[in-house]
C-alpha cells in the first residue's frame, strides 16, 4: 500500500463522516430495525408470545351439564382456552350478526335440550357460523367443535352399548345407569385436553435458536453493511461525474493507487460500520457477540466481501443514480434469500440450499457460530473462506470493468 492509497482512502473517509444522512441510514436504521425485530420476535422464538386470541361468540340455549362442560371445561380452559376469547350472546341472531359483520370469527349455537339429547342417546345438532374472510382462524374453531362432536358421538355409542349390556346382564338397574352416564361422558374433556398437551410438547422440541435480537443484530448488520459499502463504492462514480477522477488521473498517481485508495476506504467504511453496530448492540441491547478475535476476523471477511460486491455494483452502474437504484435490487433479494429478513432456521430445504449463494448466509453462519460459543478459527473457516472468495471474484470483475470505463 502506497502513501497515496492511504491519502485517497483517508480523504474518502473524511468526506463520508461529514455526510450525516448516510450515517443515519447506515447506523440508526439498522439499530432501530434490530430493536423492533428483536422486540417482536423474541417472545415468539422463546415460546412466550402472547398470541392474538380468536374471538368467538357462544349462545347457550341449553344451559345443561354437557353444554356447561363444553364451554367451561373445554373451550375456556387449557391450550384451547389460551387460543380462544369467548363472549356470550343471548340470541342466535345476535351471534350470527356479529360473525357476519366480521367482529367475531365464529358463532356457536348450543340448542335447547342438547345435554338431555346427548345423555339419552338421541340425535341433536350444534350450529356454527364462521367468517369466510378469516378462513384459517375459523377453521381452527370448526376443528375444535367437530372434534368435540365426534368425541361425543363416539361416547354416545359406547355408553349406549354399555348401558344396554349392563341392564340386560342385570349388573345395574336402568336408574343406576342413567345416573352414571354423565360421568362416563365427562371423560371427553380429559381426552381433548390430553391431545392438546401432546401437541404443545411436540412444539417445544425444536432446534436451539439464538435469541431473536441476537439473530437480527447479525442479520441487519450484514444487510446494512452491504448497503453501506454500496454507497461507499459509489464514490468512484461521483468522482467520475464531478471530474475529480479525471483530475486525479492528470496527477502523477497510478490507477492502482486510485482504485486501491477507493477500495481501502470502502473496506474501512464497512469494517467501521459493522464494528460500531457490534458495540452499540452490545451496549444497548445486551447482544453477546462472542470471541472478539474471531469477531474481528469475521467482520473483516464480511467487509471485504461487501467491498467486492459494492465495487461490482459501481462497475455495473453508469452513474451514482443508477448505482443507487441497482444496489437495493441486488442487496434486498440477497438479504431475503440469505436470512437477513427471514430466519434461516425456518427455511425449507430448497431455500436453505439456495441461500448458500448469498453473502448474507455465509456471514450469518460465521457470526452465529461465534455467538454460539465458537472459540477456534476452524469454526468459522468455511464462511470466511467463502466470503473472501466471493469478495475477490466480485472485486476482480468490478475492477476489470472500471478500468475500461
Amino acid at each position: 500500500m502506497t502513501d497515496k492509497t492511504l491519502v485517497i482512502a483517508l480523504k474518502d473517509l473524511s468526506i463520508r463522516t461529514r455526510d450525516r444522512r448516510s450515517a443515519v441510514i447506515l447506523l440508526a436504521m439498522p439499530m432501530a430495525l434490530i430493536f423492533i425485530l428483536g422486540l417482536v420476535f423474541t417472545p415468539l422464538w422463546s415460546g412466550t408470545a402472547e398470541i392474538q386470541r380468536i374471538p368467538i361468540v357462544v349462545v347457550d340455549q341449553d344451559r345443561g351439564e354437557i353444554a356447561r362442560l363444553f364451554i367451561e371445561q373445554i373451550l375456556a380452559t387449557g391450550e384451547i382456552g389460551r387460543l380462544l376469547r369467548i363472549d356470550r350472546a343471548g340470541e342466535a341472531s345476535a351471534a350470527r350478526t356479529l360473525v357476519m359483520r366480521g367482529r367475531r370469527v365464529a358463532g356457536l349455537i348450543i340448542p335447547e335440550g342438547f345435554s338431555q339429547a346427548v345423555m339419552t342417546g338421541r340425535p341433536t345438532r350444534l350450529t356454527l357460523y364462521t367468517d369466510p374472510a378469516q378462513s384459517i382462524r375459523a377453521g381452527i374453531v370448526q376443528s375444535i367443535v367437530t372434534r368435540f362432536a365426534a368425541e361425543i358421538a363416539k361416547r354416545q355409542i359406547a355408553v349406549t352399548v354399555a348401558a344396554e349390556t349392563l341392564i340386560v346382564e342385570r349388573v345395574m338397574t336402568p336408574d343406576q345407569v342413567a345416573a352414571a352416564i354423565p360421568d362416563w361422558l365427562r371423560d371427553v374433556e380429559e381426552f381433548i385436553d390430553h391431545q392438546a398437551v401432546a401437541i404443545a410438547e411436540e412444539r417445544g422440541a425444536g432446534p436451539r435458536f439464538a435469541p431473536a435480537i441476537n439473530y437480527y443484530a447479525i442479520a441487519m448488520g450484514v444487510m446494512y453493511i452491504l448497503f453501506g459499502v454500496s454507497i461507499a463504492s459509489q464514490g468512484i462514480l461521483v468522482e467520475r461525474r464531478e471530474g475529480t477522477l479525471a483530475r486525479l488521473r492528470t496527477t502523477p498517481t497510478t490507477a492502482g493507487d486510485i482504485i486501491g485508495g477507493k477500495l481501502l476506504a470502502t473496506f474501512l467504511t464497512g469494517f467501521t460500520q459493522l464494528s460500531l453496530l457490534v458495540v452499540f448492540t452490545r451496549a444497548f441491547y445486551g447482544v453477546r457477540w462472542g470471541s472478539p478475535l474471531l469477531l474481528a476476523v469475521m467482520i473483516s471477511a464480511t467487509a471485504l466481501a461487501a467491498a467486492g460486491l459494492g465495487t461490482l455494483i459501481a462497475a455495473l452502474a453508469r452513474s451514482p443514480e443508477s448505482a443507487e437504484a441497482l444496489a437495493p435490487a441486488v442487496i434486498l433479494p440477497m438479504s431475503f434469500l440469505g436470512g437477513s429478513m427471514w430466519p434461516i432456521y425456518a427455511m425449507p430445504p430448497w431455500l436453505d440450499t439456495a441461500s448458500r449463494l448469498s453473502f448474507n448466509r455465509w456471514a450469518l453462519d460465521g457470526f452465529l457460530a461465534i455467538m454460539d460459543g465458537a472459540t477456534t478459527a476452524a469454526a468459522i473457516a468455511q464462511p470466511v473462506a467463502i466470503l473472501l472468495g466471493m469478495g475477490v471474484v466480485c472485486l476482480a470483475i468490478g475492477t476489470w470493468r472500471l478500468r475500461f470505463q
Binding site: D3, K4, V7, K11, S14, I15, R18, D19, E242, G243, T244, A246, R247, L248, R249, T250, T251, P252, T253
Partner: protein
Amino acid sequence: MDPLVVVEDLTKHFNGRAAVRGVSFQVLAGETFGLLGPNGAGKTTTIGMLACLLDPTSGDATIAGHSIRRAPMAVRRAIGVVPQEIALYPTLSARENLRFWARMYEVPGDIARQRIDESLDIVGLRDRADERVNTYSGGMKRRINIAVGLLHQPQLLMLDEPTVGVDPQSRSNILETVKRLNQVGLTILYTSHYMEEVEFLCDRIAIMDLGQIIALGTQTELRLQVGERDLIRIATQVAKLGTTLPAALRALPGVDDVHVRDDRLEVLTSYGRRLLPQIVTQFVQHDVPILAIEVKEPNLESLFLKLTGKALRD
C-alpha cells in the same frame, strides 16, 4: 524561445469518429498559447491527450521533453491542469482540497503548506481558505480550481475553458490572474470559445474547428493569413475632399483602397493604426477637416466566420 510543447500530428478517434484530426503546433516557453474554437471543435480532447487522460489514436506530443505516449508520469509532473469542471471536493474546505491535491502532486508536507498559502494568495482567497468549497460562489470555486493546478509549480499550466459559467467580475479576476501568472514566467496553454479572452491573454493562437487547426499564428499574422484588412473611417466635410486627397491616400504604402461614402472617407489597409499618422498628415496638408476617426480591425470572430462560414458560438 525554445518550444516547451511540441504537438505532432495528434489524432483521436472515438468509436470510429475523429474528434481530433492531425493537430500539430508548438507552445514556446513563457508564452500564452490559445486554442480557440466553438464547442465540439476538439479543444478539450486535445488538452485531454496532452494531460495524458486520453491515449492518442496516432501522433505524439512532448511536454518539457517527455513524450505523452512513452513517459506519461514525467509529463504529469511537468503540467498543471485546470479542467473545465470544478473538480474539487465540495464538502472539504479549500485548504483541505489543496492539501489533498498537493499530496497527489507529490509536494512534500512542509513545502506543501507554503505552496498552499502562495496559491491561495495568487487567487486571492487566503482569508476564506478554511470554509467549505460548497459555500463558495461559482467564481471562487473556479479560482480554487486554478490554485490546485499551481501547487507543484508546473512548467506548463493548461486551462480548459476556466471561465465557463462565471459572472463578469469573477471572469475578469480569473483572466487577470492568468495574465499575472504568465508575466512571472509560467507557460500557459489556454482553451476557450470566447474570442475576447484569447485576444486578451494569448501571444499566439490556434483556431480549431471540427477537430482540425484551421489557422495558427499571432493575432496580426492570423489577420494577414486570411486576408482580412483594417477599415479606417474618417468623418469629414466630403465637399472639401476633391480628388487630390483620395489620390494621395491611395499612394501611401500599405493602403489598399480608398472609398468615399456619405459623409465619410474609408481607407482599407492591413496596417490600420500604424498608418494613422500619415493619413492625418495628408488631411492637414490638403486642409480638409477631420471630424472623427474610427479604426475597425477585423477580430478573430470575423476571421472564424470567414474561414468556416459560421459564427464562433454556433
